[in-house]
Each structure stands twice: as structure tokens, then as C-alpha cells.
């Protein structure tokens, strides 16, 4: 029957199809809402992943890495804070990724970049890097980062120097590593050394976010170095430390105290090092 | 000398896991002399195809023996006896994506023919069976009649001494049937032995030197040269005698 078929066609076109399109977009919006409030998610323990990968462990490691990276990126873009559970998930994901393919470089780099600067999980970062060092024996970057962590975050210049030397032994490592290791061993925690280190790291980094992070830190350190050099001159001349740092300006060793890009006040530590009340970390955003 | 000797052949098989075994061939004995055309007729399920498969060692008999050119088939240790045998199954299914020429070349190569021999035989046979025009076509485009003719070419390519045909006329139009009849007579002229089973009594009567009627696995009647002369002269009717023989058993 011609008109009946025409009727069905009209019904489909005018009612059913628009209904589908409307419901489809509504469903996608719902999913977006559900996902934004969803818990970070679950990564299967490596033992299971390896079995279920069925010979495609490498591919699965790539996928899981992307998942972890986009998870962080998602939170970052939305300016959402990563909770402790979020970081747990992230760290565990990287662990699983490197269990699936321990030669995979990206998780080590991302782990070093985020676990240290953003969430102060230095032990976790080091453990990850040490795992990588067992496999990527030709890669100088991993022991280099471990050394950096020990020196910069954990304040252990001696251990830091050991790892830097290890990195320097690996063929293909940059020429400055040996001298840097030696400096570290000798001068310990002077800001000047940290500055050199950081300048090198900056040159090696490709991620824009990390570059900004470090650039800021560099600025802070340059300020600290300036103050420390003035401080040294004061000590050499007067034989003692000034009472407060503003004395340096008053006595003419500094034109003015440099700005702390983190917005803190410069302080003088017990061991004679220059530090800031900001602790060289961004102030946490106000909670409502 | 007999080309084929079937001696007290028995074959039982189970149609399903829990079904009772069916007796396909019961105590079958017959002889096909060299250079004759032997016809096997019988109602559906009489055991004709089963018998033919035992001739080719596709299935093994429970009891009895099959001999071709005085060599045992069932006890054969290799398939060399098949060099002299050509077989056309009922409803032949061929490799879909090959061309006719590729299929026939394959048939010739496995029989140890040289490339020139193969080319010559392909030419002659396809012309005889009327499918020379389809040599370059893929087999899945073939109609049933064309497939039947292709199967015939495949069976005869290596010029076998013994030709076994299972329902050679099936699927063919009257022209095709005439072609097969002419072919069989031609083979007979060349001194080959032809063993075939068929439902079409008129053609069987016309072509054969001997006819056997099979029913429920048993040989119920055998017609020799004299009988056949009578059939051809119209003195007796094969159809009537067939029906009588078959009904008589029931």
C-alpha cells in the first residue's frame, strides 16, 4: 500500500530520527557529567594485565600510559585539584605500565616530572626510576633524574652525586655531567649548583608546563643566588651573618632584595642558606 | 581379466550418535570386465554411492575386498592405483575461486602429466564437453550443468583406464545428456572401462554391457549382454523388470 509505506517513512523522518538525535546528545551530556564526578578509575594489577594482554603487552602499556597521562591532563585542563587518591591511581598506573613494558621511556619521564614537582612523592619517583634503570641500562637520563631528586628534593648531595656519576659513566651522556657530579660532591647544596643543574634540566625539557614550572623556580633560585653572593661578601667583610636580610640592602651589598616569584618573604636559614617563606611552591588556591 | 572385482562387500554405518547402525552394503559381489560399460541402478539409498566410495578407498569396508586391475584397493598402502582411475562424484563442488583452466591444470599436475600434455588434453576435453569458452572464468560463476561438465573434464584429464561416474547425467539438459552418452561410447571405443550409476534407465539401457540392480545394499538382479539386447530390441522393458525386482524385495 503506497500511502502506508509513505506514512511509515514520514513517521521515521519527522519523529523517530529527531528523537534519536536529541536523545543521543542528551546521553553524551549525561556521560560527560558522570565522568567528571567519577572516581579516578581502576588499573588492573600488572600480573593480570600481562596475562590478559595475550601477547600485546607493549600495545597495552601504550594504552594504559595514555590513560594515565590523559587522566592527569584532564584534571589539569579543568583546573581540578588532584586528590591523594588521584595521585595514588596515577602512580600505580605508571607502575603497571612499566611492569607491562619496563623499557618504555615515557612513564619514567612523566613520573619524574609530576610525582616530584606536583605531589612531593620523591620515594615513589625514585623507585620508578630505579626500576627503569635495571632495564634501560643504556639510558643516562634515569640515573640523572634520580641524582637530581636526591640533591634537589631530598637534600642528599652525596647520594645525588653518586647517581650523577653513574649517569656520567654511560656512553652518550652529556659532557657536563662529570663536572656537575664533582661540584655536587664538593660544594654540596649551594644555590649556585642548583642553578646550574636546573638550567641544564630546562634545556633538556620539552614539556611546556614543566618548562614554566622550572622557569619560575629558576627565577627564584637566581634571586636566592644573588642574595647568597651578597651574603658571602658580607661574611667575608664582617666575619658574621647579618641580623636580617634587609641589612644587606642597607649596608649596600645589594641594591634591593629580589622578588620571590612565589610571593614569599626571603628568610635566612640556620645553616646560612637563603630560603623563602613560600618554600618555592605555588600557594594553594583558596578553598570555598 | 576383470578391471573391477567386488567380493562380498559389507558396510555398516551410524547415521547419528544415538541412532541404530544402517546396513549400507550387504554382501555385494560383482565383476566388471575390462573394456565394458557397467551400469549400477537402484532406488535412492540403495548403497550405490557407498559402493563407489569403497572403490576409491574413501571409506573402508567392514568385510570383503575390492580389487582394481587385480590389486587390492582396501589393503592399498598408497594411492598409486588412482593414477588409472577417473572419478566424477554426484553434484561435484569445485574450488570456487579458481578458474576452470587452473582446476584442470591442477588435476593434470597431480597425475604427473607434463605441461604440454595438460594443455592438449584441456583443449580437447573442454571442446568435447562444450565448456571451452569458460576456461578463464571462476568456477563459482558456473551453472550446475557447467559444473557437471567441468567435473567430467577433471575426471578424464589424465586419460584413465577406469572411469567411475556417479550420476553423470544429473543437472544436464538433453543436449548435455547426449554429450555424456557420446563420451561414454567414445571411451568404450578406446577400450576403457566405465562404471557408472544412474537413475535414468533409458540411457543406462542404451549404453551398458551389463546392468546391476541394487536395493537396500543388496544386489537383487544382474542383466548380461543377452538381456540388454532384448531391452534394446524392445522385447523386454527394463523399467518393468526394475520395478518388479525392487518391489519384490519389499
Amino acid at each position: 500500500m503506497c500511502w502506508r509505506r509513505g506514512g511509515i517513512n514520514a513517521l521515521m523522518l519527522l519523529v523517530v530520527v529527531p528523537l534519536y538525535l536529541g536523545l543521543s546528545s542528551a546521553s553524551w551530556e549525561q556521560r560527560a557529567q558522570v565522568r567528571s564526578t567519577a572516581p579516578p578509575g581502576y588499573t588492573m594489577p600488572a600480573a593480570f594485565s600481562r596475562v590478559l594482554a595475550m601477547g600485546y603487552q607493549g600495545l597495552l602499556s601504550d594504552y594504559e600510559f595514555l590513560r594515565a597521562a590523559t587522566f592527569y591532563g584532564d584534571r589539569s585542563v579543568k583546573r581540578q585539584q588532584m586528590s591523594a587518591e588521584d595521585w595514588d591511581f596515577f602512580a600505580y598506573s605508571l607502575d603497571v605500565v612499566t611492569d607491562l613494558d619496563p623499557y618504555f621511556l615515557d612513564p619514567y619521564i612523566l613520573g619524574e616530572g609530576l610525582l616530584t614537582w606536583d605531589t612531593q612523592r620523591y620515594a615513589a619517583a625514585n623507585a620508578l626510576l630505579l626500576k627503569g634503570m635495571q632495564y634501560r641500562t643504556w639510558d643516562w637520563q634515569l640515573p640523572y633524574y634520580v641524582g637530581f631528586n636526591y640533591f634537589y628534593f631530598l637534600g642528599d648531595s652525596a647520594t645525588g652525586s653518586t647517581y650523577l656519576m653513574q649517569a656520567a659513566e654511560i656512553p652518550g651522556s652529556p659532557a657536563y655531567l662529570k663536572t656537575l657530579a664533582a661540584r655536587l660532591a664538593y660544594y654540596g647544596g649551594k644555590s649556585q649548583t642548583a642553578l646550574l643543574f636546573l638550567q641544564q634540566m630546562l634545556a633538556e625539557t620539552h614539556s611546556e608546563a614543566l618548562k614554566q614550572h622550572m622557569g619560575k623556580r629558576l627565577l627564584a633560585l637566581q634571586g636566592a643566588v644573588q642574595i647568597e653572593e651578597a651574603l658571602q661578601q658580607y661574611r667575608d667583610t664582617n666575619g658574621a651573618d647579618p641580623h636580617e636580610l634587609s641589612d644587606l640592602v642597607r649596608s649596600g651589598y645589594l641594591e634591593e632584595l629580589p622578588q620571590d616569584p612565589y610571593g614569599g618573604q626571603w628568610t635566612l636559614l640556620q645553616n646560612g642558606r637563603v630560603y623563602s617563606t613560600s618554600k618555592f611552591v605555588d600557594a594553594k588556591p583558596e578553598t570555598k | 581379466m576383470s578391471e573391477i572385482v567386488i567380493d562380498s562387500l559389507y558396510k555398516k554405518y551410524k547415521p547419528g550418535l544415538f541412532k541404530k547402525p544402517v546396513e549400507a552394503v550387504v554382501g555385494l559381489s560383482l565383476r566388471v570386465p575390462t573394456g565394458t560399460v557397467y551400469g549400477l541402478v537402484g532406488p535412492n539409498g540403495a548403497g550405490k554411492s557407498t559402493t563407489i566410495r569403497m572403490l576409491l578407498n574413501l571409506i573402508h569396508p567392514d568385510k570383503g575386498e575390492v580389487r582394481i586391475a587385480d590389486k587390492s584397493v582396501s589393503a592399498a598402502t598408497n594411492a598409486d592405483f588412482l593414477h588409472a582411475v577417473g572419478y566424477l562424484p554426484e553434484n561435484p563442488y569445485l574450488y570456487d575461486h579458481l578458474t576452470l583452466r587452473e582446476l584442470l591444470r591442477f588435476g593434470g599436475q597431480v597425475c604427473g602429466m607434463s605441461a604440454e600434455q595438460i594443455a592438449a588434453r584441456i583443449e580437447a576435453l573442454t571442446r568435447q564437453t562444450g565448456i571451452a569458452y569458460a576456461l578463464k572464468r571462476r568456477l563459482h560463476t558456473f551453472s550446475k550443468g557447467m559444473r557437471q561438465r567441468a567435473g567430467l573434464c577433471f575426471a578424464l584429464l589424465h586419460d584413465p583406464e577406469l572411469v567411475i561416474l556417479d550420476e553423470p547425467m544429473s543437472g544436464l539438459d538433453p543436449l548435455g545428456r547426449k554429450m555424456v552418452c557420446d563420451l561414454i561410447l567414445h571411451l568404450k571405443q578406446q577400450g576403457k572401462t566405465v562404471f557408472f550409476c544412474s537413475h535414468i534407465l533409458s540411457d543406462t539401457e542404451r549404453l551398458c554391457d551389463r546392468i546391476a540392480i541394487l536395493d537396500q545394499g543388496r544386489l537383487v538382479r544382474e542383466f548380461e549382454a543377452a538381456d540388454l539386447r532384448a531391452f534394446r530390441a524392445g522385447e523386454r522393458c527394463l523399467e518393468d523388470e526394475f520395478v518388479a525386482a525392487v518391489e519384490g524385495v519389499h
Binding site: F65, D101 | H97
Partner: protein, 272 residues
Amino acid sequence: MLQRVWALALVTGKEGIRDRSLFGILLFALFVLGLNVAVAGFFMRDLGKVTVDMNLAALSFAGLLLVFFIGINLMAKDIDKKTIHLVLSKPFSRGEYIVGKYFGLVLLVLSTLTLLLLFSSATVAGVHAMYPAYFGGFTWSVYFWAVAFIALQLALLCAIVVFFSAITTSSFITLIFSVASYLVGVTLEEVLFYLKSQAAAGEVVASQTLRSVLEVVAWLVPNFAAFDLKTEAAHGLALEPVRLLTTAGYGCGYILVLLWLATLIFRRREFN
């Protein structure tokens, strides 16, 4: 004898290559190969590894599809449609038939893999040209070795398919058993070593009987993980010749034994 086997192999291979399903499988593989050029950009450093991962996955998965669908069909159709009656009416011994069909399957796999390898090499070279700095450890020789062993893996799978086809009448059963054998073969090593490490660490996760059963299975099913050089190819790790030889020998030995068993069983088979 060799002529017969080769003729059957050629015919089987041609039949497989001209199957239209092949087109779909090739399209899928080419899609993944093309995709890998885009996906590489998502990663930071180890682009070489990601490219190799995707390429080898595409090749091996296409091979799997090939064997499981077209390969099984090539064996099963013969018996199902009674084409085998035609073939066995020629002077083929049962063993020659099995070997001929097997090499036909292998021919199909090798020719498809070669074609895909050409495209794959092009995409790898392309991504390499786009991001030369991130292709650190990659070497072509290890990559080709990995592909060669993927081919050997697939040849093993073909032998399994031929074996099960020789035993059963249903193509579906052949498919199920072949897939099951493959799944066991790829996961066996992981499971066995995981259980061993747990036992060594003092945490006994599974009973002794389970482990004994798995050890027996290890003799029956080929350890597909041994032929997996994907990690080595992804990072350009060195390959010792002894390891390659042992693995290749292991594979060929398994194929020979399986084909022999298939022939023995096939000899007793009846074709109605």
C-alpha cells in the same frame, strides 16, 4: 610426491587469496597502520616504540584473523562441500593431502604478511622521518626478525588448524579449539612464571595439581610467547643467534609433530 603437494598448496593458497574476506582483513590492517601515524603524536619520547607496537600488532592480528577465518574455511569447505572427494580421487596419499593443504595455508599467510610488511615499513619509515629524534633504539634488522617470528607463530597456528580439521567434522569446533589453543599458548608463559614466582616468594596461590596440569599443557600447546619479539623490536634490543635458532627449531619441531599426528588420524578417516 613433491609435485602433488606443491600443486595442492598452490591451489589452496590461490583459493584463500581470492577470498573476498581477505580484502576486509587487509583494509583493517591498513587502517591500523595509518592510525599509528596519528597516534604517535600523543606520546612524549618513545615514539619509535609506539609505532613498532602498533605495526606489529596490526600484522599479527591480521594474521590471526586470516588463519581463524579464511584458513579454517579452506580446510572445512573441502570436507563440507565434498570437494575432498574430488581431490582424494587423484593419487594423493592422506599425508600428502594434509601437507599440501598446510603449505597452502602457509602460502596464504606469507603472501598477505609480505604485502602488509611493505606497507608497515612505509609507515614506520614515515613516522621515523617525522620524529627522527625519538626513534632512539630502533633498528630495521630486529624489526624484520620480529615479523619473521610472527610469521612462524602463524605457521604454528596453521598447523593447529590443520590438526583439528583432520579430527573433527565441524568447522565451528575447529574454530573453537584453535582459538582456545591460541589463547592458552599466549598466556601460558605468564601464568606459569607468575605461579612460580609466587611459590618462590612463599605465597602459594595455586595448588600443586594445578601447576602440574599447567606443566603438562606446556608440552602439548606451543608457547607462543617464545616467538614474541615485539618488545625487542620496539626498543631495538639485541637478539642472540642461539635464542633465535632454538626458538625456530622449537617451532618447526612442533609443526612436524602435529602434522604427523594429523596424518595418522586422517588416514583412518572415512568420507561419506
